[in-house]
Subunit: 355 residues, 3 copies
């Protein structure tokens, strides 16, 4: 069964990972992709496979804004057209598949499917990243040996932090007790939790309030897109105070499918408090890295090992109230997958492309 969507904007990395001097290789949804920039700095994404001998173009170099295969010197431009063949004429066969890319909010967005359907308006909105001074930001990238939807389940059910990340990121049971309001869009799920008059709350944030012992209000929102891109916000205020005066932590998560057995996990964290406190930044970054790259990765990979090649839903999990948002996400994902399959069959049946 196909497990990856084609017609979505995948997060493929961070903008500054693709410099003019060197290409970036990354496997996205089982497709090896090489990303580079032309002389004007425009992004390009090609299938990372020379049509001549199938060696990875990413082992080559950038020469005058085109990419040169390191094996025999063939050169390809942003559209994947061969622009230099030192060994003879340029035949039609000398072309590489190219993909649509965009760059927004510091992220590389990659569209693997039909480029005619790739609209800039449908890039998930991560503009919140521009709100805070960059000195409070940190980010990471890891590969998790698990199905991408297991990572999605993890983010859409934040009660797990009360147990798995108890010490620093847990909410002392607040997330466990609170049920979300769920909104569903064409390609996203938005889940919002609100808890009032709590004497607990995310430990690492509560400590930053003027009176760390006061009752608080806490709101959490997670917007997940079918591509795996997620924007998460957690805010707290002393009880009754307006939200826009609260302290807020933002996280971009992107659980981009990598191979059938592994998923990328990109994350970026920033906040509107203690922005200039380098020591606090170090402490928070340490706590978050330990939680994401240690605890989450370890638990999700162990879950996958226990599941083997089994499909999660087919294995009949005993679902709980905390799974409501992730179950909505899985259903939306399945519908998107089915819609893509249907569209392909229609093309195959009616169109001249079926020949």
């Amino acid at each position: 069964m196909r497990d990856f969507l084609s017609d979505v904007w995948y997060v493929a990395g961070w903008s500054d990972e693709v410099a003019r001097e060197r290409p970036l290789a990354r496997t996205i949804a089982n497709t090896p992709v090489v990303m580079f920039r032309d002389n004007r700095g425009e992004l390009a994404a090609l299938r990372d496979r020379c049509p001549h001998r199938f060696s990875p173009l990413s082992k080559g170099r950038i020469a005058n804004g085109v990419i040169e295969c390191g094996y025999h010197g063939l050169q390809f431009d942003r559209q994947g057209a061969c622009v230099a063949n030192p060994h003879g004429p340029i035949s039609k066969a000398l072309a590489v598949e190219s993909f649509t890319m965009a760059e927004r909010d510091g992220l590389l967005w990659l569209w693997l499917g039909d480029s005619a359907k790739a609209r800039m308006e449908s890039i998930p909105d991560m503009s919140a990243v521009q709100q805070e001074p960059s000195n409070s930001h940190f980010r990471g990238h890891l590969s998790v040996r698990a199905h991408h939807l297991l990572l999605v389940d993890n983010i859409l059910d934040l009660s797990h932090a009360d147990y798995l990340h108890k010490a620093a990121l847990g909410s002392g049971g607040t997330m466990t007790r609170t049920r979300p309001r769920i909104e569903e869009g064409e390609d996203f799920i938005l889940a919002e939790w609100f808890a009032a008059k709590e004497d607990k709350g995310v430990a690492i944030m509560r400590a930053e309030l003027a009176d760390p012992n006061a009752l608080i209000d806490m709101w959490t929102s997670v917007r997940w897109h079918t591509s795996g891109a997620v924007l998460l916000k957690v805010g707290i205020t002393p009880t009754g105070e307006p939200r826009d005066q609260g302290i807020v932590t933002h996280v971009i998560h992107a659980m981009t499918p990598q191979t059938p057995g592994s998923s990328h996990y990109f994350y970026r964290v920033w906040r509107n408090y203690q922005s200039d406190n380098a020591e606090y930044s170090r402490m928070m970054e340490g706590a978050v890295r330990f939680a994401f790259e240690g605890e989450d990765k370890d638990m999700i990979e162990a879950q996958q090992i226990n599941m083997g090649d089994g499909d999660f839903m087919s294995m009949k999990p005993a679902l709980l109230a905390i799974d409501s948002a992730s179950m909505r996400a899985r259903r939306l994902f399945d519908r998107a997958l089915a819609a893509e399959d249907m569209a392909r069959m229609e093309v195959a049946r009616s169109g001249p492309m079926s020949a």
Copy 2:
């Protein structure tokens, strides 16, 4: 083909490996199992997989004698019943499969099959372990990447020590020359070798006699059970002297199936001579570890690599006289496997469980 028995008492480890503070995870016969103790110290064994999201319970903690999942805090008792769900009501689906356990002779015994058939009397008798002062004991546990019956073949044909463990454990050809008397029980094979008036014998033991150059009598017995548990004894006396005045080395071996491609190998060694000689103990432990964890493991894994996925008997080995005990064991094992399969089919045909 199924390669593992269900209705046997498997050695799953050593009693003291399961403390009250921490669970023990181990895969036995392809089943991930978590073992822990309740508040009274009673052993429990559950399938190591939370019914909610299939994460391993062994990554959690013991709280008041029940095990708590480290992902979302569900708690399960010895019987696998859910006793706490912080996220809502306890539904029937929130249950974990539990297995029967026993503790005897310092070993953890695990019954993966039908608990109604698990009789304490059928636990293999390893009470010999209590005979000698514990300061002469040492033990080990390793995982061997080979089918469990290759390890059984190895133990039921001790002539291999004359070649593979020549220096310390070899008998100078005594085992090679001697044929065993074989007794067969419902679930065991007992093989006994006796050699009289030998001028060789297990090197490491002969050196301990009053006159190391005297002729000796040597007897060896290996009792193998279908679960893979083995009790081995080697004794020597100056020729003609009564056995109960001889020096004896005991070994428990347990070749417990782990996965289709690997087997546990537990061993415990003790003796009735030089019990208080720490230096001798160190020497003997060194020699045994080298033989078991170096030479045996290396040879058996190389054998398995050479066999690939092939079934040993189907590959038509050129069997020798020294293989008589292990061939009896393989036939007994196959009959036990066939009997289990037959019993299951009967249940399926006649019973209401077939629905």
Copy 3:
């Protein structure tokens, strides 16, 4: 699909790798082989698998010119006949498959197929190895995780050196510009390139001419045999001078199939210039090792990863003029494979061996 020929002389290693004291284990064309010498120094090659318990004979020892299994002491001679069984009579079943071997030009030649077809005259001619003083020679052996024909493609298209090995071994485009004359034999392809009045040429060699800036003539020849054995020569002279006064570098390459996913790569390099210059030798050896064991291995393994299990030709590569020799080689290889298959079918149909 079968991917390995049987009736060819494979390079299995270097003569001096098999000493009288120790056997040499190597997997050739998916067959585990143990090589050793008898008391007269004659080479033997047996299937590296004892018929008793399938353990590798190579884990044993050489005793009086026969090989003794390290597990139970069975001994086998050069023909694979059992000559000692410490455990009883020698039955017919106690025999190991033996293979035909030859030793020539410092190489071990192994014939895995029908020994009746193994003619010494068909051993690829590598006598050029005897022409130069041995102090200019160096050699290497590595295992490459790629199909053996990808390594063949690499050697039969030397234009790759202009890009992949640009710094030291590249010819500054000379190989890229020159087309070969191709000669085809029953079991070999000989490709010869000639370039006159070049102002470039293999960098590392040009520097050795009396006038490194003079125009040169350069000739290159690659003789590839279906077994994967290759003799390569590159010579240069100042333009117009006779070839036999030129400086020449020789290389034996042997791309011997190992397993379906990996290939041996043996190489030996020597030259007729700077033979006694130890510093030059070190420099050249460093450059060659970096090119072969670093750049070639890395590129070819990446190519294989990109191809997965796919067959190269079925994946429809966009072939170039530089691929003419390797395409001839692939066709010759396919014909040889088909001829072997056909011969087997005939035997099966007509002969008594079909029973």
